[in-house]
Amino acid sequence: MTERDRSIADSLDELFPRRDEEQGDWDGVVADAHSGRYPRPSLAPTRRRRAVLALAVVAALTVLTVVPALAVSKGWWFLRDGLAPKPTSPVVVAINPQPAGPWALIAYLADSNGRTEICYSLTPSSEGSSGAFGACGPGALGEPNLSSPTFATGGGFAIGPTTLDVSVVVAELGDGSTVQARMATAPKALGAPLRFYIVEFPADAALTQIVGKNSEGQVIGTITVPDGTEMHQGS
């Protein structure tokens, strides 16, 4: 028989109430578990920042699946072309688990004149860097009082970072229809508490707005996409 005292139980309930609204982040746990660069508690932050650049394969949307034949071994175009800022964090990678539509999202932190930026790019096919696009910027969708979160769009995709408060991102198209984004939680190795959305929409459709909502369906961030935006680099 296991004993429970009602008055003690009541007191304990008040001390730390049960938070049923929290469901955790299993995808993030799996991603970090498979990340060779998941920072260990014993590593000081400064040492963590100096960690050698590493590719950490991330289970983004579902449990980690077979990596499609993307140009992983050839290096990411975003880093190869010499124009993108140098990473100050490990590069994290999210792979679409569906073989029918392979894409890879990479993200990392970079320093821009003393300001930390998040850089990210999407390679939408298995054909090398064809159609790839990306951006760098300081603000994530969902940050309070932020007028222009960074985002990027190209070839029927829109991508960008969000705060962890954003659990759903919906893209609105010119014909009034909407498309819900896939979400990928960045592993801790990135060093920033972020999620990424990846919206895929018909390449000939006009993207008008990107809306971020919290778990209760409240809008907590909006991006209005200028007409004709393609391969946009927001900031």
């Binding site: 429970r4 003690i8 001390l15 049960r18 049923d20 469901q23 955790g24 998941y38 449990v63």
Partner: protein
């Protein structure tokens, strides 16, 4: 004899761990928060614990209980969080902090202080019993002790807390 043949290593599946995580997350978070002293640290502790569990799942032995294995990892991760947050245990700060509720009376404040003063084993057993509703055997496995020790620890914790409650009520 090859030692590997004697070991009952059979591994835990990712699905089992996901089920444990998703099925008990509010309880895991609550226990971790109570140990680590803040919700933020509690979240980190649960996260870190399951990262470690996934990585170590192939070494899990099925002659133990997966649930107890997971709770042990969460308790240890939460204790590490407490150590990482330096100096005075945050638990004592959290438990001994001022009342935030208008209607909360001295009774709860006294219980908070009493829990903060309990020996760690008693406190951990108390949290696992009340916040996770675990039975003595699972608590014992999670804390690496015997069920009898858990029973004794909970009995002692109950005595302390009941005495505290009686003192508060006699002062009213």
């Amino acid at each position: 004899m090859n030692s590997r043949k004697r070991r009952a290593v059979s591994g835990a599946s990712l699905i089992d761990l996901e089920s444990a995580y998703r099925g008990r997350y509010p309880d895991l978070l609550r226990v971790a928060t109570a140990i680590a002293g803040s919700v933020e640290s509690g979240r980190d502790a649960v996260h870190d614990a399951f990262v470690d569990l996934i990585r170590a799942r192939r070494s899990y032995r099925k002659n133990g209980h997966l649930e107890a294995w997971a709770w042990a990892a969460v308790v240890n991760a939460a204790r590490k969080q407490t150590r990482r947050r330096d100096s005075l245990p945050l638990l004592e700060e959290a438990l001994g902090g001022p009342s935030t509720s208008e209607g909360e009376n001295d009774r709860h404040g006294a219980v908070r202080a009493a829990i903060a003063r309990l020996p760690e084993r008693q406190r951990l057993a108390l949290f696992l019993r009340y916040y996770a509703d675990l039975d003595y055997a699972t608590i014992a496995e999670a804390l690496g002790t015997a069920p009898g020790t858990v029973a004794a620890a909970l009995h002692a914790a109950h005595e302390t807390l009941r005495q505290t409650l009686q003192e508060v009520e006699s002062n009213d």
